[in-house]
Structures are given as C-alpha cells and as structure tokens.
C-alpha cells in the first residue's frame, strides 16, 4: 500500500511541480525580505527621531504587526482592500505587501535598537582620531551595525519563509496547494499519497530553512567575539 504512495513522487512531473510550488513560496518570502531590509533601515532611522508624533505612529505600526497573526493581516489586505477600495489584488501580491510590512516593522525595530546601542564613545573616539563624520560612519559605525543586524535579519528570513506557507489559505498555488492537487489527482491510484507528499513537503521546508538558520547561528557566534 505504501509502495503506491511513494511512487506518486516519482510519477511524471510531480516532484518538479512540488519544487515549482516551493519556488513560489520562496519568491514571495525573498521579495518580502528584500523590501523589509530596505524599508526597515529607513523605518529604523525614523524611529530614532525624537518627534512624539513619529514615535507614537511607529510604535503603533510596530506593535500591530507584532501582535496580529500574519494570517489576519493577510485577510485584511486580500479581502479587505478589495471591498474597501475596489482593488483586486492577487494572493501573491497581498502576501508580499503584508509580509513586507511585517518585515519592515521587525527590521525597523532591530535597526533602531542597533543604532541606539552603539555607545556614544564610538562616535567620540572616531572624531578624536580625526575622522570626518562620513568616514566615521563608513568605517566604524556602519560595519558594526551591519554585524549586529545580520544574524537577526537572517532569522527573519527563515521566519518569513515559514510564514509564507499561510498563503495556501488565501488560494495561492504554492507547495502545499500543489501537494493537495497531486493527492487529489491520484486519489484512486495512490490513496496513501497524502502521507508521502506532506512528508516530503515537511522535509523540503526543513532543507531550505535549516541551513539558513545554522548560518545565522554561526555568524552570531563568530561576530560576538
């Protein structure tokens, strides 16, 4: 019985389809990460401004994105924007918007705390050495900040990839949906396919995320010294 199940994986282009579904997931998450990095840096700098209005607005933005389950935000954009403004967004676009906003909030907070945590004497001693402000930033401040930010940013990437699995619930054809389609198509020929298909998807996610999180861990250990 289980023989039939696992055969499904090797039939036709099934496995290739799964991989292309996984690629959809990766496209969404990597695009979101890219946006988050850029916008997050900007947000982080804005968050360090002493203006009370920006402080309140950014805080609300941050807390909302942190507290609300991402699936709720997906619903808000995918279903809500359509009715509210009549725009028809695809599941993928909605996902990229939602995850980019979430990622921007997280990155922004990281950047903000990285900027604050650089001890003032770093700025002072750079000036004492005769570096111009631009030089101080390029050679002293920014490298340190980048170092501090990289492991959490890589962590965010894995979280993003895992969260993208949610888009199956708003109809995007990603790896889980492809899996469902394959199982459905082979309902009579391979009734046990579900175990193998979902098992493979489980390990596909692991194979993608594990190396990335290990990388983050290694970098963190290296750069802590």
């Amino acid at each position: 019985m289980q023989d039939l199940g696992i055969k499904v994986l090797f039939e036709g282009s099934n496995f290739a389809r799964l991989l292309s579904g996984l690629w959809v997931t990766l496209e969404i998450s990597l695009a979101s990460v890219a946006f988050s990095l850029v916008l997050g840096v900007l947000l982080g700098m804005v968050m360090t401004l002493r203006n009370p209005i920006t402080k309140v607005l950014t805080k609300i933005f941050l807390e909302f994105n942190r507290l609300m389950p991402q699936l709720v935000s997906l619903f808000l954009v995918y279903f809500g924007l359509t009715t509210a403004f009549g725009i028809d967004l695809s599941g993928q676009t909605s996902a990229i918007i939602v995850f980019s906003l979430w990622g921007t909030a997280e990155m922004g907070d990281l950047v903000r705390s990285a900027l604050i945590s650089i001890p003032k004497h770093q700025y002072d001693s750079s000036a004492a050495l005769g570096l111009t402000k631009l030089q101080a930033y390029s050679y002293v401040i920014i490298p340190q900040t980048l170092r501090r930010l990289t492991p959490p940013a890589i962590n965010l990437t894995t979280r993003m990839i895992k969260t993208t699995s949610l888009v199956v619930l708003i109809g995007v054809v990603e790896v889980l949906k492809v899996g469902q389609q394959i199982i459905e198509a082979n309902r009579y020929t391979a009734p046990d396919a579900a175990l193998w298909i979902y098992g493979v998807i489980f390990f596909l996610y692991f194979i993608v995320c594990y190396p990335i999180s290990k990388l983050a861990g290694r970098l963190e250990k290296q750069w802590r010294n």
Partner: protein, 227 residues
Amino acid sequence: MELEGFEVLDLVFMKTYAPLFVTAAKLTLSLSFWGILFALVVGLFCGLILYFKIPVASRIISGYVELSRNTPLLVQLFLLYFGLPKVGIIISSEGCAIIGLTFLGGSYMAEVFRSGLESVEKSQIESGMSIGLDRLQIVRYVVLPQALTVSVPALFANVIFLIKETSVFSAVALADLMYVAKDLIGLYYKTNEALLMLVIAYLVILLPISLLSSLLERRLRYAGFGN
C-alpha cells in the same frame, strides 16, 4: 448606517454575529491553553536534558528542536491530520491542533528553559556545593528557581507566539476565528464588519497578555534578575 451611499459599518450585523466570534475565540483559547501547557511540560523536560547534556537524549532532542523550528505549523498539521490516517493513526481536529502546538511550542520552550538554566552563574552552584548540597538539591533549590524566574519574559513571548500560530487551525477543519470571518465574508459579503470583529477578537485575546508580559518584565528587572 449609510452615508450618501457610502456604507460605513453595519453595526446590527456585527451585533448579530458577534457571538460566533466569541465561540470561536473560546475554542482558540482552549486549544491554546492545552497546547501551551503541554509545550511547557515538554519544553522543561527537554530543556533540562539539554542543560545536563545527557549523552544520547540531548542529541535526539537537539534534532527534534531543529526539525520543529524549521518547519511551519501548517505543514506539521497537514502531516498529522491528512498524512497519519494513511498509516492508520486517526486523530481528531482538536487533537491534531494540540499535538501540533505542543510539537512546535515544546522546542521553543526548551530553548528558553535551557538558556535560563545556563544563565545561573557557576558561583551560585559552587555556593550550594560548599554548604553540602548534592547535585539534585542544587538544581532544585538554587538553579531551577533562578532559571524559571529569568525565563518568564521569554516564556510569555512564546505564549503570544503560539496563540498567533493557532490562526491556522481552520486548515484542519476547526471553526476558529479565521474560519468564522471567512465564512461571514463568503456568505454575506460583510467584509469590513467581519474583518473588524476578527481584529478586535485577536486584540482582546493578545493585548492583555502582551501588557502583562511587559509588566512582569519590568518587575523582574527591578528585582535584580536578567539585564
């Protein structure tokens, strides 16, 4: 409520269907409660094993931690709910939800407990040794109380994380908050109202816990624990 043809919010609709959200919220909370409870137990057990570096067991548990942290809950649930029946193991929706949360949450809790235990300074352990306490007594009276206290903020963060994760339960045929919202949108096209109630429901659940967590964190810092 209608203004010049631009409909604002149908409050009557909201009042009528609010009970549905309440029921769904209760379901979410009860499943979360059990999932988190088991996750804490599993986490403490695994955390202790990792801390004591018990030979074979730590390897297995490290493997478990990596596996559960690098895969989405949704996929884990699909495997439990759709996959296992194919080898004769049939678990109810609620069962899958709780097992999934425990599997995922256990590894996150284990990490918190492990680092809490390791944060207790060696000199504390030596103090315990020098008054004649044996290893078990030192863990029980000196290490564990301090480790647990230090872990509280991170544990709360995990609780919030796990409750957020429960939003996928509709995928295994549970009538949770997302399901109710989607249903109402599909049946009555009252998108704004349904979404608003959805957001309010989650805020009501999560905001108090988040505030409590910040409060506890501040009190712990005052008491001299953590940084």
